[in-house]
Amino acid sequence: MGKTLFEKIWDSHLVVEKENAPSLIYVDRHLVHEVTSPQAFDGLRMNNRSVRRPDLTIATMDHNVPTTDRSLPILDQTSAIQIQTLEKNCKDFGIKLFDITSPNQGIVHVIGPQLGITLPGSTIVCGDSHTSTHGAFGALAFGIGTSDVEHVLASQTIWLEKPEPFEIRVEGKRKNPHAVTAKDIILSIIKNIGTAGGTGTVIEYSGEGITDLSMEQRMTICNMSIEGGARAGLVAPDEKTFDYLRNRQYTPNNYDVLVEYWRENLKTDQDAKFSKTFTLHIENIAPQVSWGTNPGMTCDVTDSIPFSEDYSNGDENQKKAADKALEYMNLKSGTPMTEIKIDRVFIGSCTNARLEDLMEASKVIKGQKVSEKVRAMVVPGSQMVKKQAEEIGLDKIFIDANFEWREAGCSMCLGMNPDILLPGERCASTSNRNFEGRQGTGGLTHLVSPVMAAAAAIEGHFVDVRELDLN
């Protein structure tokens, strides 16, 4: 029987294989950031261990860095300590660090691909659940806890039970690909399979709806695999993948030889079997907006806020969860989504802060002003994205419309830095999680695409962006 792409990558990284028990898998790339690593380095020190492969390890600071002027000192003392700790750890253990002043600094999942560190067919781990982003390049990439960060630093390997392969086919063509985006595709998928639908699996996304997407859009899809419960999500690499990674700063010297091998080998065999399959047809999908407190609680922008009975389909626990979510979100069932007024807009995060995201959002904003009742900000995913955007004048478009134009980082996706929502503030956000308090205690998050967020900033409420001219 043939193998799936995931199984091929798995098999080619087995160091110790065990039946019905975790196997030992080799790690090709280990990405490190300031929040989930200090305790791991401490563990190494306590046991007198070194980092086995500093040449396969890259660090940056993204989670709690301020997005304001980088020449100023960091005011939050605990953040400053965490950042200094990473600097010291990288120095002590010989790890390459893109620090706060580096032109390569940025969200770890944005800089990996941008620098050519992410490679097809490789295994990539990071102490961050959105490591699944790198799967867009046909890598097996997944998030790990801090104990495993320590384990990988010490041994360059990880014990893992083999996940099941889950095929998600995305079929058809979108009528308006500028209005209905990769974000809307992945939110639709999660709405359908649920936030635990992918538990224990690695998703392979395939079909015309996926191959049509650019690399940056595929990253948006794979990024949110974890929101569907899957540890990882991947897309078979194609010419778009190989072109994207060519001539990056850290693209390997023997790249063409590698590409030849990848082209031959990195695809699912015709007769391979998946444990699970789901198909989404995208011809008629609408822009999506989340209404609740997990990413599965999402509806079309043309829908109204659901009644918990309708959402839960007879499941008492789900009904309770929906009631609790509606109460937290301060929403009344039956209200049209387009009547929901917002206070804040956040365009950023590892889901939607790459150059294409900013370009698409800028089309909506050009020549317009942010609603007087709304405070809006753009946080580019990396300093390189910021620079590229400025080279084509996007910063001007956003600033002229009264958006704040910030330095790179995770920012208000998780509000570890000063960028947070105040209690009761309602935000249209291009990030990935609408959990209670995620963007600030008492903050109310609605997940949307960059164009939906931009349009909401202008109008002060959600709008169906299919009605705008985005071409």
């Binding site: 030992l24 200090p38 401490d42 953040s79 659940s129 014990w159 538990t199 419960g229 570890m416 995620r438």
Partner: protein
């Protein structure tokens, strides 16, 4: 890590599905650089109001559960962020066992690195356990839960069971495979980053 011992306490029922790690330990507490001391921040936004007074009605604020080491909760517990701080907070607070119909993958794996036993049981049984008023004994060695009236067997992977029972350090075990790791590196086609 200390070996996992038999425990016997009442259960703390947390009647919610999809409890995410942002709720277990909110982001403002992720800035510490050590592993200890997270227990006081466990479920912070559910436990305390804006003035940091205890909220009435949240189960952890009920004195009766003060010495409970067993949390019983809904499906997909621990979803979201990979932050191991969530597990450190649960452990530091005093929980050693979490019972739910299902867990998120990364959280589940993090539990075993920190001496917490996550037990997956049928949702019907979990619902019954939430109502259980008496003490429950958790016997990992024999894979059985004992209430006053019932014995409930549970499944667990042998390797993970051994790690908990013996309090094993993963890394020292792995480093015994040094030769195989080195051999793998010799034939690997993925080059160094730098």
């Amino acid at each position: 890590m200390d070996p996992f011992k038999k425990i016997k306490t009442i259960v703390t029922p947390l009647d919610q599905v999809n409890v995410d790690t942002d709720q277990i330990i909110p982001k403002q507490f992720l800035k510490l650089v050590q592993k200890s001391g997270f227990g006081k921040y466990l479920f912070f936004n559910w436990r305390y109001d804006e003035n940091e007074n205890q909220k009435q009605g949240f189960v952890l604020n009920d004195q009766k559960y003060q010495h409970s080491q067993i949390l019983v909760t809904g499906e997909n517990f621990g979803c979201g962020s990979s932050r191991e701080h969530a597990v450190w907070a649960l452990k530091d607070y005093g929980f050693s066992v979490i019972i739910a119909p299902s867990f998120a993958d990364i959280f589940y794996s993090n539990c075993f690195k920190n001496g917490i036993l996550p037990i997956k049981l049928d949702s019907k049984i979990v619902e019954e356990l939430k109502q259980e008023l008496g003490e429950i004994e958790v016997d990992l060695e024999h894979q059985i839960l004992k209430t006053n009236t019932k014995k409930i067997p549970f499944n667990i992977d042998n390797h993970k069971k051994k790690i908990l029972l013996e309090g094993l350090d993963d890394i020292s075990q792995t480093l015994q495979f040094e030769e195989r790791i080195s051999q793998f590196e010799k034939q690997s086609m993925i080059p160094s980053v730098l």
